[in-house]
């Protein structure tokens, strides 16, 4: 029929033939995950419910990534709460300081195409990259999911991006999603699904797709997804993810279709005003920077560091720039060491931190001062998000960040020529 991929998944998960935008459906959850910041809140809310046991311990993932290593006297208690809850509920999927949730979940095979995933983090939209319906929820809602395995959802309208053409040199997946933000704005997809298809999709790696879906929420989207294809199945094969919920959509009916020719996309920046204040990099060239960050659930994957290392190798970052490298998981960190990329980064003057979310939410490991200007590969730059409310943050691709770090000021990623 004419259902979108999101509608197909929600129909499957609510046991119906078909659903339509606006329907309220009671959906069975395949994977639910909670991170360290919200574990105490979830456990407290869960304890108010009459349910003594979670609905299915094998469907629950607990990840400590925001507060690692401990940044306050509170953090250690969060890990303990997590460990206690895992023990009493017989939850085996618990990962403390092994990586950022939005990298570990795909990496460990906790997501597969057609699944319904919910997590206590807004960037849970990331996992649509594997063809799943995936969205962020609050702590009270998570407590109810833990108890019942179900969640009520309003079936969203779907905005369709159809990608054609191929990316020019120096242009990356981050520039695609920043361009989408430029078109839709920070609330252009509020309550809605974003589905990405087109002839260009086959050339987007899983890392690219994770970057794009990660920032779906910055457009207000409920979820963002790519239809499963050969890339998806190859990834699932290596991660050991469950592909048994696979659904596909044929000629779906979208609310609107936006055509994007990737050949026309330039390297982009989100200016410090906000995620949707997007301009070509050339409009900010020469702006002095003090911190450069490559990492996060948006752009902290191995592929991102290969791009950055190829730029930074043999160069030295100027003294006024703090370059911070944060791999998104220990698995990626290990590969950086094994393949020598870590040495390239250190030789260029970078600091390499453990995997974690600290910098991206202004908590630790790179907090900005009042007069700091930063260029960063993460997903948010709201006032005060990375530190002082007057600090300035430009969001960019790892390549643009790396070149800017080399020059000590914002530079285009083709600065080599």
């Amino acid at each position: 029929m004419s259902q979108t991929l999101t509608e197909k998944i929600l129909a499957r998960a609510s046991g119906q033939e078909s659903v339509s935008p606006g329907d309220i459906v009671d959906v069975s959850v395949n994977t639910a995950f909670i991170h360290d910041v919200f574990i105490s809140g979830v456990v407290e809310e869960f304890s108010k419910l009459p349910h003594k046991q979670v609905w299915n311990p094998n469907s629950i993932v607990l990840i400590a990534d925001h507060e690692v290593p401990a940044v306050s006297e509170w953090a250690g208690e969060c890990y303990k709460t997590m460990l206690r809850f895992a023990k009493t509920q017989n939850i085996k999927r618990i990962h403390i300081a092994e990586g950022v949730c939005h990298q570990l979940i795909p990496e460990k095979g906790y997501v597969g195409p057609g699944m319904v995933l919910v997590g206590t983090d807004s960037h849970t939209t990331t996992h649509g990259a594997l063809g799943a319906f995936s969205t962020g929820i609050g702590t009270t809602e998570m407590a109810a999911v833990l108890a019942t395995g179900k969640i009520w959802l309003k079936v969203p309208e779907t905005i369709h991006f159809e990608l054609s053409g191929s990316l020019s040199k120096g242009v990356y997946a981050k520039d695609i999603v920043l361009s989408m933000l430029q078109i839709l704005g920070a609330e252009g997809a509020t309550y809605k699904a974003i589905e990405i298809t087109g002839s260009a999709v086959k050339n987007l790696t899983m890392a690219d797709r994770l970057t794009i879906c990660n920032m779906g929420v910055e457009m207000g989207a409920k979820n963002a997804l790519f239809a499963p294809d050969d890339h998806t199945m190859a990834y699932i094969k290596s991660s050991g993810g469950d592909a048994s919920n696979l659904v596909n959509a044929e000629s779906p009916r979208y609310e609107r279709t936006i055509q994007m020719n990737l050949s026309e996309i330039k390297p982009m920046l989100a200016f410090p005003k906000g995620v949707d204040d997007v301009h070509p990099v050339e409009e900010a060239i020469g702006t002095e920077i003090h911190e450069a960050f490559i990492g996060s659930c948006t752009n902290g994957r191995y592929e991102d560091f290969v791009v950055a290392a190829n730029i930074l190798r043999g160069k030295k970052v100027p003294g006024h720039v703090r370059l911070i490298i944060t791999p998104a998981s220990m698995h990626i960190y290990k590969r950086l060491i094994e393949d020598g990329l870590a040495v390239d980064f250190i030789n260029s003057g970078a600091m390499i931190t453990n995997p974690g979310c600290g910098l991206c939410y202004g908590k630790h490991g790179g907090v900005l001062s009042e007069t700091d200007v930063a260029i960063a590969s993460n997903n948010r730059n709201f006032p005060g998000r990375l530190g002082h409310k007057n600090s300035q943050v430009y969001l960019a691709s790892p390549a643009t960040v790396a070149w800017s770090a080399v020059y000590g000021k914002i530079a285009a990623p083709d600065s080599a020529h």
Partner: protein
């Protein structure tokens, strides 16, 4: 018209994100009453100390965007806000409001323009409408399923009621 309640308006503009509602550094505070004293510190520093129970927030577009932190609606609830009117809400914040028993109502942009910050308006709970400057704004009712969560006082109470009802059936 039924019995009306006088209530004060706290007006905000676009894109008030959850970091502005309650900043990251206060999330570690285990005492929600304490944490609430820092609500809206960046956009409206006087808010937390002056807001009264029953006051309403009126915002423009994309209210509550940003992180999924439930502390954002929770600090507002703790300070006595149980109704928020906005031209649009961010999705997770909207759901969190319902789950905590706060009523998030969408209004039109022209209706938003009727409100003045710190002014007093009237709320008629029976008719579910707001009186502002000789105009009456009818608030759209929620779908029955959502209303049942709100009527229970939030999701925890609602899930508990359902659980108990199922036990009785057994």
């Amino acid at each position: 018209m039924g019995e009306t309640i006088q209530t004060k308006v706290w007006k905000f503009t676009d894109d008030i994100d959850t970091d502005q509602i309650i900043a990251t550094q206060y999330l570690v505070n285990p005492d929600i009453n304490d944490m609430a004293q820092y609500a809206m510190e960046i956009p409206k520093p006087e808010f937390a100390s002056s807001v009264q129970t029953g006051d309403i927030i009126v915002a423009r577009n994309n209210f509550g965007c940003g992180s999924s932190r439930e502390q954002a609606p929770l600090v507002l609830k703790t300070l006595g806000v149980n109704m928020i009117l906005a031209v649009s809400f961010a999705r997770i914040f909207y759901r969190n409001c319902i789950n905590l028993g706060i009523r998030p109502y969408e209004i039109k942009r022209s209706q938003y323009d009727l409100f003045n910050d710190q002014s007093t308006v009237t709320f008629d709970p029976k008719m579910n409408c707001i009186g502002v400057k000789n105009e009456t704004i009818r608030l759209n009712p929620f779908p029955p399923f959502v209303e049942s969560i709100l009527a229970a006082g939030g999701l925890i109470a609602h899930v508990t009621q359902q659980f108990n009802a199922n036990q009785e059936k057994k």
